[in-house]
Symmetry: C2
Subunit: 489 residues, 2 copies
Amino acid sequence: MATQPKREPRTEPARATEGMLYEQVAQKLHEQVTNGVYRQGERVPSVRRLSDQLEVSISTVIEAYRRLESQGVLEARPQSGYYVRARLWQPPAQPEISKPPCSPTSVSVSALALKVLRASREPDVLQLGVAVPHTSLLPIKQLNGILARIARRDAGRGGGGYDFPPGSPELRRQIARRALDAGCTLSPEDIVTTSGCQEALSLCLRAVAKSGDTVAIESPAFYGTLQTIEQLRMKAIEIPTCPRRGISIEALELALDRWKVKACMLVPNFSNPTGALMPEERKKRLVQLLAEREVPLIEDDIYGDLSHRAPRPKAAKSYDRKGLVMLCSSFSKTLAPGYRVGWVVPGRWREQIEHLKYINTMATATLPQLAIAEFLERGGYDHYLRKVRAQYAQGVERMTHAVSRYFPDGSRVTQPTGGFVLWVELPKQVDALELHRRALARKILIAPGGLFSPKQAYRHCIRLTCAVPWDERLDRALVTLGRLAEELT
Amino acid sequence: MATQPKREPRTEPARATEGMLYEQVAQKLHEQVTNGVYRQGERVPSVRRLSDQLEVSISTVIEAYRRLESQGVLEARPQSGYYVRARLWQPPAQPEISKPPCSPTSVSVSALALKVLRASREPDVLQLGVAVPHTSLLPIKQLNGILARIARRDAGRGGGGYDFPPGSPELRRQIARRALDAGCTLSPEDIVTTSGCQEALSLCLRAVAKSGDTVAIESPAFYGTLQTIEQLRMKAIEIPTCPRRGISIEALELALDRWKVKACMLVPNFSNPTGALMPEERKKRLVQLLAEREVPLIEDDIYGDLSHRAPRPKAAKSYDRKGLVMLCSSFSKTLAPGYRVGWVVPGRWREQIEHLKYINTMATATLPQLAIAEFLERGGYDHYLRKVRAQYAQGVERMTHAVSRYFPDGSRVTQPTGGFVLWVELPKQVDALELHRRALARKILIAPGGLFSPKQAYRHCIRLTCAVPWDERLDRALVTLGRLAEELT
């Protein structure tokens, strides 16, 4: 370094690349903090020094440091530089890997789910029980503006005629472009649009399995998946799942050896409810294992774009060489739940899914598809993602902190690196269903753990949503929840 | 009459009632023409005379006569009065009552349906094969205008959050109000909105029957129904059906005696494809019969509002006393196919349907529901219906005429009094699938008869859509179709 000549101000080629670059710089430093290279309270390299070390411009480093500051990783001290922010509290331990029963079982969560769903409709309830972002966190205003313009511009296209499956070509083109971020090289023809991710999941399951068949799932698992399995009268085999690294592939292999598993239905990226992220190597092994056995993987990637750090993780689909992975997603967690626009890349079941979509709902509503396609085309999505990822990272951190302060000793909580839900394991004796009831009486909705397994296990667990703006009411609600949980210990 | 004192100009109480009144007058006279009280070329009563006879205002009679003129029933002759229009051609005979096989069977129409569906997506094909109104016949512009306003006004409501089942309260309130026209007294709570009628039908079938069960259907029957039965691995028992008066209730009773029928799935008002309208008395008997056996009726009323004459027929649901009729409909044939807004009144399966809707697609898109609700509230729907009913009556008449002129001798065609599809029975030796192929090669899409029964019977029949604007291209296409059919005799 000392031999370097007098430095010219560096410039990076293009704006787009620079945007990527500062994120890469931020991520690199964040990793070093995570790995303990820089500890709490320590000073990180000066802007000039890091600019030299990484051979990037001063402004890129400044942007990266500001980003890390807004994420609560660094703090700026006047006339001194940037320091690793001291966490004044210790996050609670994370839950252990789950140990579900090791044989297929029928599912019965529907009645409970309907009860929770109904409570979610009451307008004056604090919504910590459904995984739906608060409206203020969504770019609805821009989207609705685009939609309104399209509606006025093109009456024929917008409402007349059905947008028959596979759905809007404009939207499928945009989805194919973005899929590269998840490591998938797709053509618009590979994609079928759906009325949300739930329809996509349901169609996939109907395409590859029938009543009585067994489906391998995470434990705990998304209750939409469980209810679909229940409604189709299939059976579920739960696979032990680590709240950090996702399902145990070894356990899955044993299950495949022992039972006739017709499909595997997972959320590899930021699973709901644990937020587990399968490392790339494990995703790859998962896809290989299923390919050897010719078992289809129904991949729910609805949270993939909501990684707290860029770049987002790859989809398991990106490792698929045999068309066995059916990739499902939607814009309901990122753009507009009420638009009901999702999609599926059905691999070798392309034809069946197109047809099932037609039988199920004939077509997806046209205008919402066109509005999202235009939003994606204009580049608004990336801008939005950058903002909201930081917001969710902060929301998760704050709620984790609240749990650590207000909840009973011995509570454990996940530390997701994407998405916006927390899975809280309360002391064994706490009846989460009773907690749900008492909280609801105080206008707070939480999701009881029983929702997340076929026979309503996890009776001492709850799921909390962090996609709500932080305010006093929320803080008070978490105090109340902690107190109610304490009463039940 | 002669003793009547000097007449004061009559006034009817309110504008709304008057609107009803002139329609009633028109209908009364139309019935007299149909019944031969007035024959072709005969003069009908003068305006003044009918005003006296019926004790309605002059202006009401004038409006009624104009209506009948626009429907092609009467013609005005200057300085002379109104005459029954002479039909210069004789409509072909109608098809006879169907005689389907009398035992339950599995269904296999999906592959054929997918083929026809795909052809319907080609933009330069004349669309006579799908039952979708041409955009110019739909009030899309007004609807899109309303939708755009709502989108700009209320970002939170329009796109953020899910409109969880049972769906938009505004829309359910409007549907409940309108249901009176179909003889149904409903509360908004009785209704669940869906992503089109197809989802409603599919959810109903899933609620009341399971794989292997038998469902009674019309013959010929709507292919959406057939494909749903096929996809759910159920069986269909076809009931002999008259193209004028719908299914034979006697035959249905025999089928119920002999087989374990789990549900009956019908289009009592203007069935697709025959346009059959079950007389009220038969609908009532149907509902009674099914009530005795505790068999649910899934009623598809999607064409009910498109009766060519007001008032529209009652829904079978209006005779339901046991909550056994599940009434399904949508706005796809009347307002906006691309909005994907339908609904179901599930009777005693209210709870199951709400839950199935949630599992199937989570929610119906919000903005389209709100736009339709506002359109209905403003009264735009009635105005639109008056116009479009006359258009479809004329479209049906014109196409029937073309069939009578251009199609091979011995062809039969239905005479629907509502909706916009014609069912044409060609001479036995015509292979309708081959006709479909040859027509498609000439950029004309028709629906081959095989689509409308479980084992692709009706191989010499086709369905034609009359909801296309009449122009030279259409006329030429019908000449071509006739010639192609002739070649196949």
